[in-house]
């Protein structure tokens, strides 16, 4: 770690020691990866998507490999927000890293409940998941229209005692419109992208590979779409952006920062390389050293067009 270099960023009041955050749903509640590296290294951890009640999730198979990517159809399996607060926060608070609680619901009331409950918990920020493509109700059905987003976000904002990050779905005609609705409704930041809805078929059996038929595409394959959306949104809103989608190394992270993200999340890359987050932080440091960038904030939105 080069001491002349500052990796610190502040995203809507959440202070991150570096801009690399584990993406929701790909990092559980941190326990598993804590055996592979020191969680203190991370800027933050977005925990598995939480709901009011525990959820069983979708039938397996829940994952399919696609060219340079994966599809998943987990469907928000989680132990419920109470179990998270009781069992997981104490563990996570043992590390010096920001905790971001990813929250979903079927109804606006669910979202209100989640935000209220999580605002009283010992966490650093709430990521409102308006974008999960793998559940029938809530989520993406709110997240795919500007009106839906505006309504949910303005309602929950009243209950929010923590920075509120709204996570956007890429499965929309115009993501800037959605991002603007989130901003207008009081979102403190937006994070994007969640997964692109996709499908895989086994020609031999003539069946879908996923138990849920469709699933969410993530990993390197989606990076060009994610980068484009981050760039579009950065020109459309004034709140900070957390960028994600296929980030696998320091160079990828730099690209998202240049496109306008203040921080990045990484999920899928960690399945392949459990050290992906740490190596990305190191790669970012190296890039900064080589390019004489003193503070990572200098990169944010630095794209020359």
């Amino acid at each position: 770690m080069n001491s002349n270099i500052s990796l610190e960023v502040n995203v809507a009041g959440i202070k991150l020691k570096n801009p690399v955050i584990a993406a929701s749903g790909c990092f559980g509640f941190g326990r598993e990866y804590s055996r592979y590296f020191d969680l203190n290294r991370l800027g933050g951890i977005a925990v598995k998507g939480l709901t009011r009640e525990p959820r069983k999730g979708n039938p397996p198979p829940r994952i399919a490999e696609t060219p340079a990517g994966i599809l998943n159809s987990v469907g928000l399996q989680n132990p419920g927000v109470q179990a998270f607060i009781e069992k997981e926060i104490p563990f996570l608070r043992g590390f010096d890293t920001a905790i971001i609680a990813n929250a979903s619901g079927n109804t606006i009331e669910d979202y209100e409940y989640m935000v209220k409950t999580l605002s009283d918990a010992d966490i650093d920020g709430i990521e409102l998941n308006l974008s999960c493509p793998n559940v029938k109700e809530g989520c993406m059905s709110f997240g795919s229209t500007a009106n839906g987003v505006f309504e949910v976000v303005s309602r929950v904002k009243k209950k929010a005692g923590k920075p509120l990050i709204v996570k956007l779905t890429p499965n929309v005609t115009d993501i800037t419109e959605i991002a603007r609705a989130a901003e207008a409704a009081g979102a403190d930041a937006v994070s994007l992208i969640n997964t692109l809805l996709g499908m895989a078929i086994d020609a031999k059996t003539r069946r879908p590979i996923l138990g849920n038929v469709t699933g969410g595409l993530s990993g390197p394959a989606v990076k060009p779409v994610a980068l484009r959306m981050v760039w579009q949104v950065s020109k459309a809103v004034n709140i900070p952006i957390i960028g994600m989608g296929g980030i696998s190394n320091g160079t990828d992270a730099v690209e998202f920062l240049l496109a306008g993200a203040s921080a990045v999340m990484m999920g899928t890359a960690g399945f392949v390389n459990p050290m992906a987050w740490v190596e990305t932080i190191e790669g970012l440091e190296n890039y900064m050293a080589e390019n004489k960038v003193k503070s990572v904030t200098e990169l944010i939105g630095g794209l020359i067009v």
Binding site: G28, E32, P60, I63, P67, A68, I70, Q77, F271
Partner: protein, 258 residues
């Protein structure tokens, strides 16, 4: 992270199955029968996800372990082309292995196809006095590791679907006969779902405890992504649980086959 190892040997076992011997003192020492490793096939994104493979056997003295792998698609194909001296990226050992209870004096292992692999080290390590193995294959040309299994147990039965080798029929038919001869203390099953389901149902009737090793498509391999689940009982209810972390070995009465 200690995840890059050298290949010591690669050997074809039949037309589409090969044995990779890999150098790792840590894994050889730590691995318990039934545990798996998560293997990167080639570099980069071409074969993107790791592949879960059971540890077939370990040589704790030499500090090596064996993977027996059937070529199924592009990942296993790449692995089949690896040569001694090549480096391989492996995470493991992962998950829960089979239960080796000292009080279990008589055990039977039942394997079908690639399901036989994790049973070899189990036989080697299990403290029972009487260990039988029932292995099923589609036909004679697919029969592999016969000597290794024979040397590690007290009675080997082979069944083929077409009767071209050993007995004709299902491994569960042989299991039934053996169980009826003398009740074992424990049975370990690994193979196609239908086989394990039939085995579990059979053993239930005789009140013989058993363990099964489940298969599922995997992401992280360490329990974080919840993609690799199977259905298990949870009180009066059920839940999906991670095959990679809570399994791949489960108690036979715990898993819900449906």
């Amino acid at each position: 992270m200690d995840n890059i190892f050298k290949i010591a040997k690669s050997e074809m076992l039949n037309a589409d199955t090969f044995l990779l011997t890999i150098e790792s003192e840590r894994i050889a020492k730590k691995a318990r029968p039934g545990q798996i490793v998560h293997v990167k096939c080639g570099n980069g994104t071409e074969v993107y996800l790791r592949r879960p493979i059971s540890i077939c056997s370990v040589d704790r003295e030499k500090g090596t372990f064996d993977l027996a792998i059937q070529i199924r698609g592009k990942g296993t194909k790449i692995l089949s082309n690896m040569k001694p001296g090549d480096e391989i990226d492996i995470i493991g050992p992962l998950g829960q292995g089979f239960s080796l209870y000292p009080k279990h004096r008589k055990i039977i292992v039942v394997g079908g196809g690639i399901g036989i692999f994790p049973l070899l080290q189990l036989l080697k390590d299990h403290p029972a006095d009487n260990k039988k193995a029932i292995l099923g294959f589609r036909n004679r040309s697919l029969v592999i590791l016969e000597n290794e299994f024979r040397q590690s147990c007290d009675g080997l039965f082979i069944a083929t679907d077409d009767g071209s080798y050993g007995e004709k029929g299902f491994v569960t038919d042989i299991l039934k006969k053996e169980v009826e001869k003398e009740l074992p203390d424990m049975v370990f099953l690994c193979g196609p779902i239908v086989m394990m389901k039939a085995g579990v149902e059979l053993l239930k009737k005789y009140n013989v405890p058993c363990e099964v090793s489940m298969e599922q498509r995997m992401g992280c391999g360490i329990g974080a992504c919840l993609t690799c689940v199977c259905k298990v009982k949870k009180g009066d209810d059920w839940e999906y649980t991670q095959v990679c972390k809570r399994g791949p070995v489960f108690s036979g009465d715990e898993v819900i086959f449906d």
